[in-house]
């Protein structure tokens, strides 16, 4: 009997104690490790894509589309309204431009100035951009308008972050 059952009392106690001790240690360490590597586990803080409009609504003429994104500003979280100028270019490709002037950040408007139809016009300092968003030389802005990251899914246009060219 003693030979068949090779686990002695001492061994048995050893095993159980290590086992229980191990669980306790793991219970304590796990949250600590989680805290330590928390930033890795967090989902990408990159802004998600937001549905903006139906693709079928997009015309050759730029349309101003508003959408809301969640913005975290320090500890203050808020919903911010953003807008984009959306149109189809000659090649029938969808273009979504940020309306923020590259000069000092005013909001540009499409062909709002009678003297410059078919251009984006900034009311602040007369900055102008052609339809593809390229700044007109001789006006204050020094860079073309930012372009939104985008994707089309199930007939809807999704916009992400505006990116400089």
């Amino acid at each position: 009997m003693a030979k068949k059952n090779e686990v002695t009392r001492r061994q048995f106690l050893n095993y159980t104690l290590t086992g229980v001790g191990g669980f306790m240690a793991a219970g304590m360490l796990m949250p600590m490790v989680r805290f330590a590597i928390d930033p890795v586990l967090k989902e990408g803080t990159e802004q998600e894509m937001v549905p903006v409009m139906d693709v079928s609504e997009i015309t050759k003429e730029p349309q101003r589309k508003k959408f809301k994104v969640d913005q975290v500003d320090g500890w203050y979280e808020s919903e911010v309204e953003q807008s984009a100028w959306v149109y189809k270019d000659e090649k029938d490709e969808i273009v979504a431009l940020s309306p923020v002037c590259k000069h000092l950040g005013c909001t540009v408007d499409w062909s709002s100035n009678a003297a410059y139809p078919d251009q984006f016009y900034c009311p602040c300092h007369g900055g102008r951009y052609t339809k593809d968003g390229v700044n007109v030389p001789g006006t204050p802005p020094l860079a073309p308008l930012d372009v939104y990251k985008m994707k089309v899914e199930k007939g809807k246009l999704y916009l992400g972050k505006p990116e400089p060219r």
């Binding site: 309204e81 000092l104 950040g105 005013c106 009311p123 602040c124 300092h125």
Partner: protein, 155 residues
């Protein structure tokens, strides 16, 4: 540009482009019509921030000019004139006051600058969509007032 450090840095650098100052006029008082006072102030502060967002490159939004409801108009006009002198003395060409306090309307001719008076709309019961719509239509009209001023004397 807002009255925050990062914007003021740009302002200091690009001062020649920023010639318009916006000052919200916001009353304060805890006695009667408390809620009305607060919501009128909140409304104006929302409008002025939205206006700043649209035209941020050419205007500087100052911290609000606040006053007690009971402060006599003479005093307020005098204090505001000092603000006017301060900003005009520092290179601004246009000053726009935004308020929904109807009392300023009576003193408009004593002010040296443009007073934009907007009737306050209680936004707190509106849903978000409608709220933004309302604010943006209101701001559009203020925008027109400001840009018209610019067109009359282009810089």
């Amino acid at each position: 540009m807002k009255w925050i450090a990062s914007d003021i840095e740009t302002y200091a650098k690009e001062k020649e482009y920023v010639d318009t100052i916006v000052v919200p006029l916001i009353p304060f008082g805890l006695e009667n019509n408390l809620k009305g006072t607060v919501s009128a102030g909140e409304y104006i502060s929302i409008i002025s921030h939205e206006l700043e967002r649209q035209l941020r490159g050419r205007l500087l939004l100052l911290p609000p000019f606040t006053y007690l409801n009971s402060e006599p108009m003479e005093e307020k006009v005098k204090r505001l004139a000092e603000w006017h002198n301060e900003v005009i003395g520092n290179g601004a060409s246009y000053v726009v006051y935004l308020t929904s306090d109807v009392e300023w309307k009576n003193a408009e001719d004593r002010l040296e600058d443009t007073l934009v008076w907007l009737p306050s709309i209680p936004l707190e019961h509106m849903d978000n969509e409608y709220k933004m719509e309302t604010v943006s239509t209101q701001v559009k009209q203020v925008l027109q007032i400001v840009t018209k001023k610019w067109q009359n004397s282009p810089k």
